[in-house]
Amino acid sequence: MKYVDEFRDPLAAKALLREIDAASVRLGASADRPIQIMEVCGGHTHAIFRYALKDLIPPAIEFVHGPGCPVCVLPMGRVDDAIAIAQQPGVIFTTFGDAMRVPGSKASLLQARAEGADVRMVYSPLDALALAAANPDRHVVFFALGFETTMPSTALTVLEAERRGIGNFSLFCNHITIVPTLRAILDAPQMGIAGFIGPGHVAMIIGTAPFEFIAQHYRRPLVVSGFEPTDLLQSLLMVLRQIEQGRAEIENQYARLVDARGNAVAQAAIARVFELRDRFEWRGLGSIEHSGVRMCEAYARFDAERLFALSAARVADPPGCQCAEVLTGAIKPRQCRVFGNACTPQTPLGALMVSSEGACAAYYQFARREPAALS
């Protein structure tokens, strides 16, 4: 298939793997003292497992799976609030498919639907707006999730609702922004990450400049990467070369889509509709300053958080969860106390087991079930 197979070419992958292997030898890394490279984005984690790249790279290199799975890091209190909205009489609650199974403190949206709430899966916020137009006697709420990748489409949907005068539509805004969270990870005391594979689709919107602080302040290389297997291998090689040459720069492997300045139209739509929150709660990572957005005052009438009386209760992560340690590379998913016993994809306790893009779910789903390595 054109534009896909070129990026999954086994010969190209083998050539890249040979160079990665040579670079890791030159760097003096070993399986006992591996070089840790974090792939920030959940889409990258998914691709690494789908193509079994972990088995192909030398054991001297270890992927640390980052916090870039928006479904995973959604805190339980926000899911509880989503369910409370969905249970209001007259509400049609719309959501992307993979948010349906995310557990709140008592139930998931899927369970709430079974108990009578009108919860519907949509593929785009515009589908939710179309539902609102078709059901003027109901109020349609869209569960807005994701990083800058999905923010423009929700922002444009709100602008479209305003233009068409559709008043029975609102957003429950849970959009988050990755940069402050990367800073929090880099500030963590056990931080051993030597370089980053940067989120390609977030960078497509915001550009590469917002990542410069990682190179300049923390002296770590970051390579913005595409999502195909050869993209990831090439990006990994670019990170290793920077380490080898003592450089710390922001490089762009995904130049076929990402521009240094990002997408100005998308940025303008985001800036018009959303503003930074003081703090936002991340499942597994706690409350992080300036890491989420909410709707501006000008669009208050489309803001479900203002329209519905929500408890906004903070629900603590379950005891036993070691998500934060997995996210900073201190332990591997399988070394977590609850992995595979109390915490499984069927009964996820921690953020990273929730969605197929979460590191723990990916391990559980795709990785060989070898015995847990001793830490």
Binding site: R50, P70, Y123, G146, F147, Q365
Partner: protein, 348 residues
Amino acid sequence: MSSRWQGQRIAMAHGAGGRAMHELIREVIAPAFDNEWLAPLEDQARLPYGLIPPGAQLAFTTDSYVVSPLVFAGGDIGTLAVCGTVNDLAVGGATPRWLSCGLILEEGLAIETLLQVLASMARCAREAGVAIVTGDTKVVERGAADGLFINTAGIGTIPAGRCTGPQAVRAGDRLLINGCLGEHGIAVLAARNDLALQIPVRSDCAPLGGLVDAMFAAVPGDARLRWLRDCTRGGLATVVNEFAREGRLQIRLEEAALPHSDAVRGACEILGLDMLYLANEGKLAAIVAPEHCDAVLAAMRAHPLGRAAAVVGEVLADGQPGLVTLRSAFGGERVVDLLQGDQLPRIC
């Protein structure tokens, strides 16, 4: 059918046991399925016992069909209701013979839709060589069903010598499939109005009895065809997991060998779906003794429903019992597990 049914809709009276129900059955339903066993319209079909030869077995199965929307590219709920039950019989080595048809109709269903579905059932039954010999009709109030639900039960006869099952599987056996993955799943997804994608995919819905006969005929003798299953809900991945668990062996799939169309693959790439888990309605997976693999593959490819047949995996000698893995084109290997529930599209 007289023209007086045109433009009519199902009413509660059509299930009430009185004149309206009798007219619906005698004028709409029974004529569609016309055969000697159904014709008396007794409370039961009376079937000739002598048709079952000595040494043969009876196969008996049932399935309910609740697809939404009722009509999609390549089929409708009627084609599913016949093919699904016929295929459940066929993959047991049975020659499908008789079906029942239980209809649950929602008040307000257009009679035209019912007629279209019944015509599809009749056409599929003819193709599959089965007769629909008994049935039942119920009507439920508007809102209590999604237009039309169908249950079919089926009886078939298994000729002597066709013995398949998990006990027959051995290390080194090959895994075969008769064609492209995921066409039914994508066709139904594309038919739902909520997806603004034009995907040129038709459901693969088809009765597999003829193909199964051709496969058995290619390798006469016990346990050469080890085990057959049709890959419906949950797709190939789910069936192969059942093979591995029941057979207590590891099976490894080869990603590069999986037959698929670009249209299905493209839809999967866009929606974040895995075609291994997509539903099929005209696909079977077969475990075959290695020395007979070529003969079975040739027989499949010679049949219209097996032209894209391929060897897609192998039962491993030293694997982990119950495990299914997939080797990617680069040589990496990952676990292919059962899904937790429905496959949900990913956010981004």
